[in-house]
Symmetry: C2
Subunit: 201 residues, 2 copies
DNA sequence: ACTGCAACTTGCAGTCACTGCAAGAATAGT
DNA sequence: ACTATTCTTGCAGTGACTGCAAGTTGCAGT
């Protein structure tokens, strides 16, 4: 279940290790002292790197704490979605796609869980997390444009994108409420059910 | 339709004028040169105020550009919602409540429109705008806690909050697509319809 | 092993958002 | 007119983040 094709070259391994070290240090220090009482310099030297290098890895302190990374969507899931599948009904196909994003969201469960816990105590991180959703949604909109050729939908991209974002966050919250049982994607059906429940009143 | 109880005391008037001046300067300069090529100092002196005073009015440069302010929800709307009304069905009552928020979101239409236009060219502003929604949702969750006493709902607060945020943004986007006809709240039904359309597939 | 290449790290100097503090100016209440 | 309150402002400081140029390190070909 832990993704990542494992480091091949020595360089790729170091890159991976350094990244992890930065995230680990950031999460630990912020957990101990709070987001505003930890400097990037402290995080960097705790990870044995320079401050300048920190910013070669992350755009901001918050990103490091959340362990934000590029999302590499499974090419199979991607192809199926753009082809108009797997079911042909937008809502359930969207659910499958979001599940694809969620499982690749973090390199490991523990890191994601720590990130969620920190979000509970640091509201700013929630905002950054949602901002990251925006990036994923940007990716999604490209897929949607492709999918429209195969199977047009009467719903506009914006709405679909926002619902995707809602499902990501909703299942993350459900995951947290369950005290982090399984992974976030496992709680997606629950998120969809809640949404339908509200709409059907 | 322009809200605001009009300035009474001299102090309240100045406060209002200075705030407006800052927003106006911020929106104009950022429109001309872009968000990252305008400093707070430039905005402040364009408004005839000191940099330090700028931060007495806004928490950040982005906030000034968006003209973000505290939301004063109509007490009538508020009371009706917490009492379990007006219709008794959560979804449509939520719609009424969101409409209440939207109409009081900006002191005037033009400012809201300019903010929307700037968001189109400056993605960072979108994120700040969504972050502001989070604040509104925080307010909403208090109302929900109150309403539950009068009329319990099987849907959890998080989901309701996220849908409220979605509706705010969705109707703002629909407003922009209509080339800013009427106000944002006028496009709420459209937003709800799109959401239902997606859910019903 | 030697060499040239590309990727990566690092220090340095700089910009700018944002904050606490304390002094001064404007205003409101009496 | 006197006083308390509110608001503005300058000042000094912190820390995030950036571009640049100089090392350093792993990599490929010979």
């Amino acid at each position: 279940m832990t993704s990542s094709p494992l480091p091949s070259s020595a360089r790729a391994r170091q890159k991976r290790e350094r990244r992890l070290a930065l995230i680990e240090a950031a999460q630990r220090l912020v957990g101990e002292r709070g987001l505003d009482d930890v400097t990037v310099e402290e995080i960097s030297s705790a990870a044995g790197l320079s401050t300048r290098t920190f910013f070669n890895y992350f755009d901001s302190k918050d990103d490091a704490v959340l362990g934000i990374q590029e999302i590499d969507l499974d090419p199979g899931v991607r192809a199926q979605f753009t082809a108009g599948g797997p079911s042909g009904r937008m809502m359930s196909d969207l659910e499958a796609l979001v599940a694809g994003f969620l499982t690749n969201a973090a390199p490991n469960i523990e890191q994601g869980e720590r990130a969620m816990r920190l979000m509970m105590s640091e509201p700013r991180l929630v905002q950054r997390h949602i901002a990251w959703h925006q990036r994923v949604i940007g990716e999604l909109e490209e897929l949607l444009a492709e999918r429209r050729k195969a199977r047009p939908s009467p719903v506009d991209d914006d709405t679909i994108g926002m619902v995707a974002g809602l499902l990501m966050r909703s299942s993350a919250l459900a995951w947290a409420r369950s005290d982090y049982e399984g992974d976030a994607a496992a709680h997606l059906p629950e998120a969809v059910a809640q949404l339908r429940l509200l709409l059907d009143d």
